[in-house]
């Protein structure tokens, strides 16, 4: 039992490191981050970096060679990501496109689609977004109402999508829409590739309760899509969407933010009425609890990596990750604010402890518990797929969509 690479893995890691050393700046410490990026500059730098990676053969490592991938193994891909995390490079713009959308195109697209779209995506020339969620369909995505009607060789899309990351800078998206409202909801859906620059596509940022705007809503008004940009058959949209969603929980990364060691730092500085917070039993209990959870997740990941390293299919253990990390992010932020007493209400980088990281994650955690599968949906998934429990009774299962009761 050890954490060591196999000789092949070690050789690959050395190769990756050599290339990264030659092309990027190593982080001075784990907390080192790229200077604040904003606007088009950030996007251009991300595009440059993605192109470099692709040219060197480190982008989309596991994808087939014929479409521009490297035909590599999952563990090679993991090794690259582990190493890249030690360098100051612009990331984030490609997670959805390369993590979810293009894998869906690879699974369901025609040869023409793959020839046209995969290469430019790998090279970073075109960025993709995912258009599934709607105001009326979050956890119940299949309840979506955006519709498409056939008009000759084209489809005409009308409706609204929501929580679309990066829609304002994306070139293409995959959009799931209702093409037949007279059949039960899962059966009337179809998936399309949509050019985000098409007439009738309007992107508006959503302001989150935290004050930031990291997502968008996207309105479709008579947007015309050629039938040739359909992924899968009409009515197969739900099956296609499942391919994307299976990749989602891999693409929605860890919650990040402050963890137990930041809490220890804070507790050392914070004075409670009865003395330093670090000496308080309730504080020590929380530090222990969050340490145990963080370590548990870390070593769960190592178990998954071990399976990948041995060329096996990982077990279902990785499904616990967000169930644990999302509430922890919120609760740890909240508890750290308690330690600052009334001063905890201040959210100001210059005044608040540790640049207001705790206040920020108290907000962010509320969103992270919902994004990419709510706490509740993830528990359903574990219960059904891991433990083999039955699905809930579905009153909408056999009812045509247009006869189904709907709220607002």
């Amino acid at each position: 039992m050890d954490f060591n690479d196999t000789p092949e893995e070690a050789a690959y890691r050395a190769e990756v490191r050599k290339w990264l050393d030659a092309n990027a700046k190593r982080k001075a410490s784990k907390k080192d981050t790229l200077e604040a990026l904003s606007g088009t500059d950030a996007l251009q730098r991300a595009k440059d970096w993605q192109r470099k990676k692709a040219e060197a053969g480190f982008a989309c490592i596991t994808w087939p060679k014929e479409y521009g991938g490297q035909g590599g193994t999952s563990i090679q891909s993991v090794i690259y990501s582990q190493e890249e995390a030690n360098y100051l490079v612009p990331t984030g713009f490609y997670d959805i496109g390369l993590g979810m959308c293009i894998p869906t195109v690879l699974a369901w697209g025609t040869e023409e689609h793959k020839a046209r779209y995969v290469g430019p995506a790998i090279r970073g020339e075109e960025i993709w977004c995912q258009l599934f969620s709607e105001p009326a369909g979050g956890s119940d995505v299949a309840g979506l109402r955006t519709r498409a009607e056939k008009d000759g060789d084209e489809w005409v899309i009308n409706g609204q999508k929501v929580w679309t990351s990066g829609a304002h800078y994306c070139d293409y998206g995959i959009v799931v829409v209702r093409t037949d409202p007279t059949v039960p909801k899962h059966k009337g859906l179809t998936m399309f590739i949509v050019d985000m620059k098409s007439p009738g596509v309007e992107v508006r940022p959503i302001r989150q309760m935290s004050g930031e705007a990291n997502f968008n809503e996207v309105f479709f008004t008579d947007v015309r899509v050629p039938d040739s940009d359909r992924l899968g058959q009409p009515g197969d949209g739900w099956k296609v969407a499942l391919t994307t969603l299976m990749n989602e929980r891999l693409a929605v990364g860890g919650g990040g933010g402050a963890d137990w060691s930041e809490l220890v730092d804070l507790a050392r500085d914070a004075e409670l009425a009865d003395g330093p917070a670090i000496n308080n039993g309730a504080v020590r209990e929380r530090i222990a609890q969050w340490y145990v959870e963080t370590q548990g997740l870390k070593y769960t990941k190592f178990r998954t990596l071990t399976a990948l390293s041995k060329g096996q299919t990982p077990g279902p253990e990785s499904s616990i990750s967000k169930i644990v990390s999302a509430p922890k992010m919120q609760e740890l932020g909240s508890f750290a604010m308690d330690l600052q007493d009334i001063g905890g209400i201040i959210r100001d980088r210059d005044i608040s402890a540790q640049n207001a990281t705790f206040q920020n994650q108290w907000f962010g955690g509320a969103g992270y518990r919902i994004a990419g599968g709510t706490d509740e949906i993830l528990r359903n998934i574990v219960a059904e797929r891991v433990l083999g429990l039955p699905q809930d009774i579905r009153v909408d299962k056999n009812v045509p969509f247009n006869e189904m009761p709907k709220g607002k």
């Binding site: 071990t306 429990l389 809930d392």
Partner: protein, 374 residues
């Protein structure tokens, strides 16, 4: 990355699992619970015949000469069936204490017999309802004579030898030492205690000038015993994970067969989420236990944190799975006939043996503070 047990270790696990599923069903646990039997002697003999009591004892002392990892897989399987045997007392505690602190003569004298299952050992720490510590341990060793009362002592009534935590009069943490005593001699009385889990017997041992030998250096007892507990915590975490998994699958099976309001109760989210939470806690515990196993096997620098994390998360997983298993069963789960009780009892017993959550959190955070300051 090779964060897993080896094929040989998995094969050992398979063998132990097969033996226990044949010989240590719920009927055996219930037999010990309901009778005057102090442990399942038949199961114990089988484990001894397989050589498991000598798993981590070096060959020169008559053991199999395997390591900490092999004991982990054995522990998990013992936990899975809530085996009513003195394995943890004799192997995780007494044997390891002697390996750690015993003189060459003490090792020669006791390890071969422990390996062969000719004797059963235990570790006697507590003296009543306070956590054992340099402030609470009063039993004394003077001139080779042991005086005082230890309770509860796991398997105290059936054990042949005990490693005993005694007060030798030093100051602070140096007050304590370890002694080894043969329990069949004079000056010793044993009394079985009424406890929450009669499937694992505990006794009060009263020493009145019983012959005993110092084990390890005088004044080092508190340090030594905490090191023994770090190791035992890792093995016990595997035992807890095994038990927790049984409780989880018991609840899951019942949730599939029980109908209420016209449908399987396992189709209600209140039940599904409870079971999903069991799974989450168990996987966290398993992952922490693996790291504990690795640190223990390598005698790694993070052993204390790893052992504490394994201990805390495995305790939480087992307690939760055992209590919510009963809740999932409803009324039938609260009856004497139901097997749910075995795990409810055992989960709490294991949560309190080796020190409660309060001890382990404090041991962990003290260590983290030191690390974060560095």
């Amino acid at each position: 990355m090779n964060f897993d047990f080896s094929d040989d270790q998995k094969m050992l696990k398979e063998q132990v699992s097969k033996f226990l599923s044949d010989k240590c069903g719920y009927d055996v646990v219930r037999r010990v619970l309901e009778s005057d039997e102090l442990y399942a002697e038949d199961v114990w003999k089988g484990l001894v015949e397989m050589g498991l009591t000598g798993t981590a004892i070096p060959e020169e002392y008559g053991g199999l000469g395997l390591g900490a990892l092999e004991l982990c897989v054995v522990a998990e399987e013992l936990g899975r069936v809530a085996a009513p045997v003195p394995f943890s007392s004799s192997v995780f505690l007494a044997t390891e204490a002697i390996k750690l602190a015993g003189s060459e003569a003490q090792k020669q004298k006791y390890l071969p017999k422990l390996a062969a299952g000719e004797i059963i050992g235990t570790l006697a720490m507590a003296e009543g309802t306070n956590a054992p510590s340099p402030r609470t341990v009063k039993a004394s060793l003077k001139g080779g004579k042991l005086t005082g009362t230890k309770m509860p002592v796991p398997d105290g009534e059936i054990a042949d030898i005990a490693v005993v935590l005694v007060n030798t009069g030093g100051s602070g943490d140096k007050a304590l030492s370890l002694a080894i005593v043969e329990l069949n001699g004079s000056g010793i009385s044993k009394e079985q205690l009424k406890t929450i889990d009669p499937t694992r017997g505990h006794a009060a041992l009263k020493f009145d000038g019983a012959a005993a030998e110092l084990m390890g250096a005088e004044g080092e007892g508190w340090d030594l015993v905490r090191r023994v507990l770090d190791g035992a915590a890792v093995w016990t975490a595997f035992e807890q994970v095994g038990g927790a998994e049984t409780a989880m699958w018991m609840a899951r099976d019942y949730a599939l067969e029980r109908y209420a309001f016209g449908r399987q109760i396992g189709s209600y989210q209140a039940i599904k989420h409870k079971l999903a939470d069991m799974y989450v806690k168990i996987e966290l515990a398993r992952s922490n236990s693996y790291y504990g196993a690795m640190m223990l096997n390598d005698n790694g620098a993070e052993l204390i944190e790893a052992a504490a994390a394994a201990r805390i998360s495995a305790t939480q997983a087992y307690i939760y799975a055992a209590q919510e298993n009963i809740q999932t069963h409803g009324g039938i789960g609260y009856t004497w006939e139901a097997n749910t009780q075995f795990f409810y009892r055992r989960a709490k017993l294991l949560a309190l043996s080796l020190g409660s959550q309060l001890y382990w959190r404090e041991r962990l955070v003290t260590q983290l503070e030191a690390r974060n300051a560095a």
